[in-house]
């Protein structure tokens, strides 16, 4: 095996949800997840947040493995 360097090719997962109660659609939905819960999910993926930005529509996080 080649001397293993850092694997560049990414894995990409996209999940779409729908609200059990349509009234929720106007809300923040997944954006209500608190940072502790997000960190729980990222811990399962061996990642941590190093930078973040957001606007009216979504939040974007840069992660480090």
């Amino acid at each position: 095996m080649a001397v293993s360097g850092f694997e560049g090719f990414e894995k990409r997962l996209e999940l779409h949800f729908f609200p059990d109660d349509p009234a929720v659609l106007t809300g923040m939905g997944l954006r209500q997840l608190d940072f502790e819960s997000l960190e729980q999910v990222l811990r399962a993926v061996q990642c941590t947040v190093v930078s973040a930005v957001g606007n009216h529509y979504f939040d974007a996080y840069v992660l480090s493995e």
Partner: protein, 280 residues
């Protein structure tokens, strides 16, 4: 690596040897507490440079598909897994999608019909790749060094006006997320080490955009990295977008070596194209 959180959509994109698919179960758990039910899933990746270094459940695409099948709820009953072939054996494209009945097809009338371009570039130009190394002894933080790289490499000009958050890693490597406008983003990840240099560019656009803009963005991306090999996966319901890719790259000396199309539940069409510089 990057994470994007919308009210009813979440996208996680990770490099290295992360166990990305292990995020599904905790995400379903938290979403359920928010009154949200999963309705569709899409998993994509290129071909690993170091496949033997990948941990469970990513040691093979077969293992990934089994893990996805076991992790997804039964209401996502429309499922498809495919390895889209390519003449360059090390550059196949792996796609798995799953959907429930209601979200099986994205109709062109859907107000938010976005398309996604996932670009993977290898054998970067060495001089350009060196710009993604931190200088020895450089005490700058990842944020500050990241901003410097964004400017130095011209990445800041790919989608002018986007809100960028960027980060430079020690001793090399770079990641950025750009909020373009509204609910669209671009994201770039670079591992510049010689011998296995790699960069990715992902761009979410709307089929109502001026498609010349797509060509402009692609040209700038090639100018930043000058890769010898480039693959482009276009996921969309309309057909025009992917046709613009070749038109943008060929004048830059990138020759199209393969083009495959496939249709997937909840994702519409995936068009996978690979390009190499003529010198190859």
């Amino acid at each position: 690596s990057s994470l994007f959180v919308y009210p009813t959509k979440i996208i996680i994109k990770t490099c290295g040897t992360t166990q990305l698919l292990k995020s599904i179960r905790p995400l379903l758990h938290y979403a359920c507490h928010l009154g949200l039910t999963l309705c569709s899933c899409r998993y994509t990746r290129g071909s690993f440079i170091f496949p033997l270094a990948q941990p469970f459940p990513h040691t093979s695409f077969k293992e990934e598909v089994i893990y996805l099948e076991e992790s997804l709820p039964s209401n996502l009953c429309y499922r498809k897994a495919s390895v889209m072939p390519c003449k360059i054996p090390s550059h196949s494209w792996h796609v798995f999608t799953a959907s429930d009945e209601a979200h099986l097809v994205i109709t062109p009338h859907a107000p938010d019909v976005l398309y996604t371009l996932e670009i993977c570039m290898t054998e970067l130009d060495r001089v350009l790749a060196r710009k993604f190394f931190k200088r020895p002894g450089d005490e700058k933080t990842g944020d500050t060094a990241g901003k410097e790289m964004t400017e130095l490499t011209g990445i800041g000009h790919i989608n002018p006006g986007s809100l960028i958050c960027d980060f430079a890693f020690d001793p090399c490597g770079y990641s950025m997320n750009g909020i373009i406008d509204g609910d669209r983003y671009s994201t770039i990840h670079v591992t510049p080490e010689d011998g296995y240099s790699y960069a990715s560019f992902e761009f979410v656009g709307s089929i109502y955009d001026d498609l010349d803009d797509v060509a402009q963005v692609l040209k700038k991306v090639v100018q930043v990295f000058r890769p010898a090999t480039m693959s482009v996966s276009t996921t969309c319901t309309s057909h025009e977008v992917w046709t613009r890719v070749g038109g943008a790259l060929e004048p830059l000396g990138m020759k199209c070596r393969s083009c495959t199309v496939d249709e997937f539940p909840a994702a519409g069409n995936v068009v996978f194209q690979t390009f190499t510089t003529r010198r190859k």
